[in-house]
Symmetry: C4
Subunit: 242 residues, 4 copies
């Protein structure tokens, strides 16, 4: 199997996993940068993640343009992906979701920060981006490169951004890493929410040193072991080949 | 297949979807206005949504009367549907449910308003209707046209109404739209509840301009794409043909 | 099929339903009064509800004694059932469970009262019973008729009682009714909990008149329709014949 | 079947049960002390619990060393298990998990204590252990015997310990008991959290006398009945032989 075919297989599996683990539902999407042409990325045509097959995967330019002769309908919000790949050369995969425990934080202006080692891959915090600040009253969808770039700028050097009244976007250096981070962002938000409800005591977040230790571990290639252990498990649960 | 048969097929599928997505359980119902006679509507005989087949669908007049010769038992609360079709000519489909995150708002007099773009189809807010105000101590069921009309009046021009100590009713221009709105009302309530528990900060609801932008999009026919994407996904999950 | 065999079939189905709907887990039990001898009742041998078959059903005297020649091991807590049948001649079926949303109320001394029409079958409120008051430091299990009677006295004329640090017991005039009430007690507790977390506003409980209207409806035999509609649905979900 | 083979079978079943009941997910592990050599214990190679087969089980020394000739990759955190077996001769089985309701307590410094009879096997309370106190900024994983011993010391004579920003570890005298305790620790945390959110009233925890009564019951061998009833149920749900 070619590198491209293998990557498309992983992308299809990732769609199924994200649906099966309730990170995406009828909406949401995951992309991966093209393995040989960093100015392009792979993303399904407009379809619910659970239903996606290899034949649905399209190649898009970073500005969201389709390739000549492809008349399939892409996701309106493909600019989320293109803008992040444009701004962040090291990013290889992007997930946009409406996962449920994350959204309440944006509604009341509370910041999500890692509370457990599993979510240290997010970085120090998850900044909040609000369409209304620069674009006024819209339907909140990221429907242009201008909006996508503004969102990517808000994410800055972190690995996730919270989108007010909408959802979140996370990034990683591989499909396996970004699925892991998307899953543990949801989990982290749920834990942080429960801690806030349990007590008025301040939350004992991970320190910067602890996050650095976890991120450093990734740089050392070590948590790749964690990514692949979880990936194997999620593949089994979703009924797809690993 | 005739238009009527197609609509009955969609109505049966909608019942299964609403049960499978936990919007209804043993109770709750969905109806659709008759495709050629707007003074009638289609609704199952009194049965749990998950069990409904095409043969269970009855034709009712807007006042809840059965057609001559039909000796099946209709839902007691068919007046919810008839009264809404009477008051709102543009409405084509109605869902009544006890979906769980919605009810607490009526118990403490808090108003549900859209917090995410997905629930913008509800309109600006979900008004509260209380049987006790006009009808005193009852078993809370909508058992007459007088009660149904009072509920429909409380909904006014919005697309949903909260029923104190009971559940909610939502409306739409198609079966696909009303299933979408019923699903996202539940989700919106859950998010608004979590946001209220997370912080004493005021909630950043969608503005009227944002809701107008989403509703306008519907008028333009655009979110039909969203309705059908979700519909295809929910059909797959519920094991019914789309 | 004899009346007794039919009743045993319903009792087995009820065990499966309660497990499938997460009202009981590995622990909990449901009994029914003997159809021809009101001084006896039917209850499974000590087994998890999900695993119970017709052959597991034992006949017990109201004081918990086994019939001569039956060497199977009964539940330690059979006194819960016997004492209720002794104190309340009209009761035909009893469920004891650890269903999860109910227990927190006993831990902080808050009273569960019906907030929706579906749980009106509980009566005006669910009194709290605490083993510690009369029996001091025990392992909290109802291991004697003295404890069972004390619990039944605390329930008084209501249809449910909350057991501090343990669970709850509900009663009904049929297997179908008590399963319904056990299910909606859990649901009511969950709604009341969410309402308490949502706002400091007082909760708008059902009035006594509303509960009387619902209970009266039962006396009129009307909600029997509701019991059987839900029963058919739960049987389908649990994969048992109705 | 030999005692060792039987124990390995139970260990595999326990992994499946813990995954199926959502106590572990892609991460977490359960071990058992070697039945004939108390200076060794049995633990799977580094794999997600749901996927573990008998062939994955390794024998480790208490200091985490592998046996000669075994080139499989063990869990990094095997020191959690070894240190507990070293410090607590009576302990026969250990579970480490990230079960979700437990973690928030460590984030805000609230203590988990038994609120229901089912979780009395935990002992009087679940102490909090924080890597940061002695080891500073780390990635929070228990990656040495020094860390494992520090954690075991924090647990003292209790049957569980909460690990800040990470998860928890529980111990028991058999695989069946430790699975039971791991399950009811999660449940207890969930109930205690709900009680805290429901009311500002103080929580009515089990008294020391009540815990003693439950623990004493274990010493008498009685709750073995409870352990095996739950075990049979969990085996059925997980699709493994009991």
């Amino acid at each position: 199997m070619s590198t491209l075919d293998k990557l498309i297989g992983d992308l299809v599996a990732a769609n199924r996993i994200l649906a099966n683990e309730h990170i995406v539902d009828g909406f949401g999407h995951i992309s991966v940068r093209h393995p040989t042409d960093p100015s392009k990325f792979l993303l399904s045509r407009a379809r619910s993640p659970e239903l996606i097959e290899a034949e649905d995967i399209m190649v898009l330019d970073l500005d969201g343009s389709k390739q000549p002769g492809d008349d399939r309908k892409p996701y309106l919000e493909r600019f989320i992906h293109g803008a992040v790949y444009e701004r962040r050369p090291e990013v290889q995969s992007v997930v946009h979701s409406h996962s449920r425990s994350v959204i309440p934080f944006g509604l009341v202006g509370e910041t999500i920060r890692p509370v457990v080692h599993s979510s240290g891959t997010l970085g120090y915090e998850v900044p909040l981006w609000d369409t209304r600040t620069k674009f006024g009253d819209t339907n909140l969808l990221v429907s242009s490169m201008a909006m996508g770039r503004d969102m990517a700028d808000a994410m800055a050097g972190n690995n996730g951004v919270l989108m007010r009244g909408h959802g979140s976007t996370v990034v990683g250096k591989s499909i396996q890493e970004v699925v892991y981070t998307a899953y543990y962002l949801e989990w982290n938000a749920s834990l942080q929410l429960q801690a806030s409800m349990l007590s008025r005591n301040p939350i004992n977040f991970l320190t910067k040193g602890e996050v650095d230790s976890i991120i450093g571990r990734i740089s050392d290639g070590l948590p790749g072991e964690g990514f692949s252990r979880a990936w194997d498990y999620w593949c089994r649960r979703a009924g797809v080949a690993g």
